[in-house]
Amino acid sequence: MSYLFNTPDDQRAMLAAIGSGSLDELFAQLVPADSRLNRELNLPRALTEQELTEHMTSLAGANVAATQKPCFLGGGAYDHFIPAAVDALASRGEFFTSYTPYQPEVSQGNLAVTFEYQSFVTRLTGMDIANASLYDGGTACVEAVLMCMHATNRNGRVVIAASVHPEFRQVVETYLRDLECELVTVGTPDGIVTADDVAAACNDQTACVFVQQPNFFGCLEDVEAIGKAAHAAGAMFAVSVDPISLGLLKRPNEYGADIVTAEGQSLGNPLQYGGPYLGIIACREEFVRRMPGRICGETVDRRGKRCWVLTLQTREQHIRREKATSNICTNQLLFALRATIYLSLLGPQGLRETAELCARKAAYARGKLTSNTRFAQRFAAPTFKEFVVRDTSGEVEQLLADAERDGYFAGIALGRWYPELADSFLVAVTEKRTKAEIDGLAAALSSATASNKRTPAHA
């Protein structure tokens, strides 16, 4: 077999050494007869490497990669450029075939990476403490909410803006359902949430106010006012951010955030159909003991040499069990590593320029796409790298399918999450999109307009 060592001779020798006549005899001793499966599993036959390669290539060929057509899809996962060095370094076996640094003496590489990752996250967000990563942006929101509930000792209510990623909100809802905490969603008819609406939604049992910046629609929230409203109600203020945007936008510490989360896929991680991604979380120092998951800390070894270890482990499930801050065990270090390499390569200037490119190209695309009379900007609020376009003829699904046929992943229909936005779609523009691609998309959407006008009823 492919990855097995034991030859029939080895097996005989090993069975003899343990005093068993055969594998069947061994398993008869180990597994009660009434629990054994007495047939072969009903699975497809084994494939050699060459056959598997052909099979996988054929499956891959039945997909259309986001790299095959200009990709204007976003909604939390983005087609940013990934430098070659990220792949080259992260694919080193010493990184990706190692595990949790239970033995720090032989894990200083991973621990140093974790420490640098945490340092980068605190510098991006302006927060004091970051952990070694969570599963993804959605579960990071939940962990932030749970932290707020513990830290404020308030379990009654969580206030969240409707402009937070709908799947992030769904995850929070799933977690809160069995914890008897009410989730109040504040509407965002203008694409952003108002501080007044937030204040009205808070009561004296509200643990946290949660918003996203830039929000799911790409719009920029008035985070400073929202934070003040949260704090005035005695609630904590948690924000989910786009890490790329932090090269350009105000950092969360500047507007009073207590906890910051993010989906870190943007930082050098492939799209890979939704995961694994990178859940980022950071907080102010006073909440460090409420932080979920692993944290790496600096110390010295017995000879006084600077080194790194996992620390504050008593928060975690392997020690505190049912009283742990979270049930999380694994993290996403491989993707935290990629983010660390990515940010090292970009540096402050590169991150700034990348964020500026996204913002300028997105603004250009917003103007270009809505210069056609069929399309309009859905919201007036300023945006970062995404924006919502309203199709006045209300045929979004058909429009996007036509655009895909014409060679563009043009955007995401919003009706599935927001019935009131069934006539709208979300367009994302990263630094990878060129002016030619944006102009091409605008032309493709215009031609869809023309064809629809010719055959209005899709006869």
Binding site: R289, Q313, T314, I319, R320, K323
Partner: protein, 130 residues
Amino acid sequence: MKPEELKYSKTHEWVAVDAATKTAVVGLSAFALEALTDLVYVELPKVGAKVKAGQSFGEIESVKAVSDLYSPVNGEVVAIHEGLAEHLDVLKTDPYGEGWMVKIKLSDDQGLGDLLSHSAYAKQCAEEHH
């Protein structure tokens, strides 16, 4: 305070009750502190918190273990040892004095019934040590 004059809970907290002011000072016994090696943190309640005998009012942590601190009495926390987490050494050097943790204003139902005398507590420790 002299350990001989204190009362103890089965969970190793010591109590000094001032009958005149109806307040109790609470800490952790030297025996328990000895068993908890390498202390790194102690979490105490907020002033004003209500506590009940036998229920957790805080936690004490070593590198790889965490233990609850149980209130020996019923009442309300009127003072906590501010900054204790930054000076954990006093727990070892002076557990019955500078190592105090909280002061509790006793409620009418004081909950003092189950506490042990020093000699009874010493006997329990000797048995646990085995």
